[in-house]
Amino acid sequence: MTSLQFDIAHLLAGGMLVLSLLLLYQDRILATLNVFALQAIVLSLAVAWQAYVQGAMHLMVTALIALVVKGFVIPAALNRIVYRLGIHREIEQVIGAGPTMLTGLGLIALSILLVMPVNVGVTALAREDLAFALAVILLGLLMMITRRNAVTQIVGFMSLENGLILAATGARGMPLVVEISVAFSILIAFSVFGIFVFRIRERFDTVDLAALDRFRSERSTLQ
Amino acid sequence: MAMIYDLVAQGLQMILVLAVAPFILGVTRKVKARLLRRIGPPLLQPYRDIWKLMHKEAVMAHDASWLYRGTPYLLFATTWVAAALIPTYSTGLLFSWSADLIAIVALLATGRFALALAGMDVGTAFGGIGSSREMLIASLAEPAMLLVVFTVSLVAGTTQLSAIAEHMIHGSVGLRVSLGLVLFSFIFVAIAENARIPIDNPATHLELTMVHEAMVLEYSGRHLAMIEAAAALKLTLYFSLLVCLFLPFGMATGDKSPLAFAIGLAFYLSKIMLLAVLLPIAETAVAKMRVFRYPVFLGGAFATAALAVFLLFVSQGF
């Protein structure tokens, strides 16, 4: 692997990480969707680059799916949902942007700490990619738990999944990657569908526990 | 032949305690009366009482059951058997080994059990009160009594009364503090068990604190006679027990000749007569206690006996 190949891969993966942080920073739904679309596009570039570098042309399929489905279709669909369901455009963050960002930085540090000591037999490319991918995954998870809105949580999940695809394509010659990226897309479609059909708006996080009494037979006071 | 001799000796002891018991009671009553500046009944009055009662018609409540009728005989029998098994003038009588000190105490408990039940048979408040208090006193007295037994058996190495007496006569017992304490404790227990002042007043049943007399309130005629006789026997029994455990000198031990028996008998009679005189003297010096003071009285007995055990451990070395 040449240094240029490495640098480009590194740049794209790093770009995804930056976009992940940016996602965490957003406090408006539509902006979040836009940033996510951007991340998906960067992902497809990164995957395409890996396909080119590894000479594994089937990965192009994955890149294409990422570009079309996650770069355009899903953000557009979510956009529609947000309008149709009249979801608050303001994102209710559980903790402020500052602490979230700090936590995010901590997570990045942790992933570097975890992956960097690994060097036996693992190519540098995979290793760098892995650190970034792990960070993206953790940040996605962090996003899921710091947002109260179903749509933004789905976005968090998709960002997490972007990290997975990044890691999978970085693993040289790994079988089943394409199939799995397809499967994940279906999964995501499912969740979008779920939000839409079942009107799961604030269901994700109903802080008002009293409202749940109607639904949960289990809610018990002292017997 | 020897067997018959032994049987006679044993029978003699049975008859002896039975014969002497009312007299002992008479002596205590007389002495007490004299101390109170009364003339008092004749010494043989208890015999007459029993005789008279035996010939009277027994009046029973409509509800009285067979238990009520049987109890006086059972009480009398247990007390009599217990009294007869305590060595009086001689150790090592034919059946002396058939019950040791613990068994004798338990035999008395059998009588008490029956009497307490009889007190509840007709369903009067007085009977119940008496039984209830009798059982309280028993539960207070028995641990103390057990510790007395414990100490004595530790000193003598046995609970067999004959063997204890022989050990006390021949063994190198000496004057032990423990034994003194135990004697003290034993006297307390004996007072409680015989319903004497300060626990109970044997002379009345018209006082609210009565125990024994309340239990037998409904009895009359021959039944009452049996109960009175049993009470007298029990007093004698405790006197004999005290004599046997603490003052056994003069008893026939090895020598089983009629002469030795006669000497033993003389010693025995004089010793219990002395006790019969001492008891009323002590009784007139104190006042009757409230029921809820009993634990203090008998607790004292228990503490003394416990102290005796521990002192004995100390003196024997750990």
């Binding site: 693992v122 998870l141 999940f157 040289r172 | -």
Partner: protein, 478 residues
């Protein structure tokens, strides 16, 4: 390829497609039973066929008995499901349209579980577990009540996160194996991984295991990843609760154990046993306490499943021949007993028209046979003799007390706490002044009592081949 393995996978897959096309529910139910039965036959036939080993599939001592167990419980559950679903249709809780999905999904789930069990490829294993999960998600939400949708959604989200994390773990496994074994399929074949395990990078392997643990742990229902489990059990149709508890949890645990073996083969990795012990005990104690305040009878037993998964995880974490043996036995018996309990509970909820424990009382007066079934099930699941779970708990407690007294004490405390809660609730249900309807039952008792009879037999007498089998696997597990 005409090995039974083909049929094992093909029959449910084909049945899935076929059932999706059949509208009539009676035929659907019948076909469902038939397909499950045929799968069971295929599974049993595996015993007599040659062992298979390719880069994709493997049949070894470990999975063969799980395959049979899965097919068996799948079969009995399909029988139970037939009567159960009929009643649901009668009272209008389900419509025939949904039943079509229901039966198709049921077979899809069976196919996926079989796939997960027989795959040698860790990626395929992952695929199997996930497909099984997703098909159950849809079945959980099939009643379309707000509670059911809530439960399905929770299951879906938590499941998806689990899926994602497990996938990352799988990638890491590939990454760690690729430099040693080379690119492509062999680097994901489990038996090759195990053989070359000692040469892998310990750090990365440990990292992989953490993700796999969290990912599959979510499926196993270990606390604190358990949240979907109680609701999914409580709100879905009871046959699904039965297979969820009886099978899916087992399959996920199976996956985790495969990876545990991998790590155990390497000396320098993380102390996997300790982590599993910790998670197991947390699950056990936590669910033990949670059992006390339960008001819904199905949720109660869902928590009991968490408890038992905790016990198994603890057992495998302890390791050693006895504890592993106990864990495997516990796994088998939990499948049988818990599904039996759900069979009973399903009918009880139907005849009483409620799942609320407070509204089901004196069952032994109104429905004695169901009550006996439930009582025996609870006795069995509580680890009381003469049922088999006593045997596994006996082996586990005694062997771990001799090795790790303090941990065993925690285990015992957890068992006792959970036991207290279970009996407390069950006595109320079974005894006392009866309430609720006392009408007749249209129930299939055969699956219920067959399961209990098997559990009873295990407690008294384990057949020699079975013992040897368990021993061999226990030795493998290390």
């Amino acid at each position: 390829m005409t090995s039974p393995l083909t049929y094992l996978l093909a029959i449910p897959a084909a049945a899935t497609l076929l059932l999706g096309l059949i509208a009539h529910y009676r035929i659907g139910a019948l076909l469902n039973v038939l397909a499950s039965g045929a799968t069971l036959v295929a599974a049993v036939a595996l015993l007599f066929a040659d062992r298979v080993r390719t880069d994709i599939f493997i049949i070894d001592d470990f999975n063969i008995y799980l395959v049979i167990l899965t097919a068996f419980v799948g079969f009995t559950t399909s029988i139970f499901s037939a009567t159960y679903i009929g009643h649901e249709l009668e009272i209008g809780k389900l419509t025939p349209v949904f039943l079509r999905f229901y039966h198709a999904l049921y077979q899809a789930m069976m196919a996926a579980m079989n796939l997960a069990l027989v795959s040698n490829n860790v990626g395929l294993l992952w695929v199997g577990v996930e497909v099984a999960t997703l098909s159950t998600v849809m079945m959980v939400g099939i009643y379309r009540t707000p509670e059911a949708i809530e439960a399905a959604w929770k299951y879906f989200i938590l499941g998806s996160v689990g899926i994602a994390l497990a996938f990352f773990g799988t990638i890491l496994i590939y990454l760690v194996a690729q430099p040693v074994i080379g690119e492509g399929l062999p680097a994901m074949a489990w038996d090759l991984l195990l053989r070359n395990g000692a040469a892998f990078d310990a750090k990365l392997l440990s990292l992989a295991f953490v993700f796999l643990l969290v990912g599959y742990g979510t499926k196993i229902g270990l606390a604190p990843f358990h949240a979907w489990l109680p609701d999914a059990h409580a709100e879905g149709p009871t046959p699904i609760s039965a297979v969820l508890s009886g099978l899916l949890l087992n399959v996920a645990l199976y996956a985790l154990l495969r990876f545990k073996m991998l790590l155990a083969a390497h000396p320098d990795t993380l102390n996997v046993g300790a982590i599993m012990i910790a998670l197991g005990l947390i699950s056990l104690i936590f669910s033990g306490f949670m059992l006390y305040r339960r008001r819904d009878i199905k949720r109660l037993f869902a928590y009991s499943s968490i408890e038992h998964m905790g016990i198994m995880t603890f057992a495998f974490g302890m390791g050693g021949p006895l504890a592993n043996f106990a864990g495997l036995l516990h796994m088998t018996l939990h499948s049988l007993i818990k599904s039996a309990i759900f069979f009973a509970v399903g009918h009880i909820a139907q005849v009483k028209g409620t799942q609320r424990i407070s509204q089901i009382r004196g069952l032994s007066v109104t429905h004695p046979v169901l009550a006996v079934g439930l009582a025996l099930g609870v006795i069995a699941i509580a680890g009381l003799p003469p049922f088999g779970m006593f045997l596994s708990e006996f082996m586990l407690v005694t062997s771990s007390f001799a090795r790790q007294p303090l941990l065993a004490l925690v285990l015992v405390a957890g068992l006792l706490i959970a036991f207290g809660a279970l009996v407390l609730r069950m006595q109320d249900v079974l005894f006392g002044e009866p309430n609720g309807p006392a009408g007749g039952v249209k129930a299939s008792y055969i699956p219920l009592f067959v399961h209990l009879a098997l559990a009873l037999m295990a407690g008294l007498w384990l057949p020699e081949p079975m013992v040897n089998w368990f021993r061999a696997v226990a030795a493998q597990l290390g």
